[in-house]
């Protein structure tokens, strides 16, 4: 697993766009990393890559926000979730994110490791670490999918 280095916010947005190009309906993407590591900025890049027109902000208080997408890959909705404020696992289970995405959507879940056992083995993970203002984004590809060639040049 190699990390992609992002020095500026634009780089983090570009990383999100790069991931969006590999996503398919039914995909769950778990974003992990400390506060301020760039997860929401990354989410704006994924949303742009999937053809979301509206502004994407952190859904910290709404838990999950659906965004309509316009793309040619059958992804009609992006569910952007943030589990930072979640108090119990029941709340995460109640969102049923893993089932919501099955037909024609993808889910992008900040602090997603808090629901780890709910996502099953088949999901993407982006691990954010902050190394002196430079963000390092490590990508874990779901089993059975093509390797993410070009993620970390």
């Amino acid at each position: 697993m190699s990390a992609r280095r992002c020095a500026r916010p634009e780089d983090t947005v570009a990383a999100g766009r790069a991931l969006a190009a590999w996503l398919a309906p039914g995909d769950v993407v778990v974003l992990t990393g400390a506060l301020g590591a760039g997860k929401t900025v990354f989410a704006t890049g994924v949303a742009a890559g999937l053809g979301v027109r509206e502004r994407v902000t952190s859904p910290t208080f709404t838990l999950v926000r659906p965004h309509a997408c316009a793309n040619d890959r059958g992804i009609a909705t992006l569910y952007h979730a943030d589990l930072y404020r979640v108090e119990s696992l029941d709340e995460v289970a109640d969102l049923a994110l893993g089932e919501l995405v099955e037909e024609s959507a993808v889910a992008l879940i900040e602090w997603g490791e808090r629901g780890d056992a709910l996502w099953g083995p088949v999901h993407w993970e982006v691990r954010f670490t902050l190394d002196d203002e430079v963000r390092e984004l490590a990508l874990v590809v779901p089993p059975g999918r093509a390797p993410a060639t070009g993620w970390a040049p």
Partner: protein, 222 residues
């Protein structure tokens, strides 16, 4: 009479049993549980003919299975039991599948499998003889791990349930295995099981939760 509610898979079904008669109906197969369940129950009652006042027992499949379906089925069953005073009885999707296999003459080792989504199965082994006996608790497993586990034994095994349809290739590769393709748990079978069971409070069985709660509790929170 008995009313049965089935929402553990993308299919929504219901059944009625009373006297010597029993019926079941598939209400929708495409996860429209919330939309079709209550009108479907009304339709079954009207066709019998009977009313909710005639229902003395409600049998509901409480999982494991599709979470978005189960919460509709269990909430509806609880609400109807509360409103009518009917007894509420829970059955698991896995025991219904195993009993359906027994009804088709299968004997010996049977593994009931429900599609757990996200690349996993809810699975439970049973021994079918004079009775349907559970050999272990229901678990979350990947199709590959389940197939590997059963590939070791030489005796025949039957996989039954919607999980055996989705993962027929993995499970069918097990030597001496048969896949019995049953697309959803039968409400009539559920009523046969539920007729002999004591009434008790019912909550959806979401197998991943136990693991996940432990995981959640041990995470450090900033």
């Amino acid at each position: 009479m008995i009313l049965s509610i089935e929402t553990a898979t993308t299919a929504c079904a219901a059944g009625l049993a009373g006297g010597q008669r029993s019926v079941e109906a598939l209400l929708a197969s495409d996860r429209r549980h919330v939309e079709v369940l209550v009108p479907g129950i009304q339709g079954l009652l009207a066709a019998w003919p009977a009313t909710l006042r005639d229902v003395s027992r409600i049998v509901v499949d409480y999982g494991p299975g599709l979470f978005t379906g189960l919460r509709v089925g269990v909430a509806t069953a609880r609400a109807l039991a509360e409103a009518t005073g009917a007894e509420l009885v829970g059955v698991t999707s896995l025991e219904v599948y195993a009993t359906q296999a027994a009804a088709r003459g299968v004997t010996g080792a049977v593994v009931a499998v429900v599609d757990g989504r996200r690349g996993e199965l809810f699975a439970q082994p049973f021994a079918l003889g004079d009775e349907v006996e559970a050999l272990d608790a229901p678990r979350v497993v990947t199709p590959r791990d389940l197939a590997e586990h059963w590939a070791g034994g030489a005796s025949p095994v039957t996989f039954v349930g919607d999980g055996a349809i989705r993962y027929a290739r993995d499970l069918g590769a097990v030597p001496a295995a048969t896949c019995l393709l049953v697309p959803w748990p039968s409400p009539v079978t559920a009523m046969a099981i539920g007729a002999r069971r004591e009434a008790a409070p019912v909550h959806p069985l979401y197998l991943r939760e136990a693991d996940a709660v432990a995981n959640f509790a041990t995470r450090s929170r900033p």
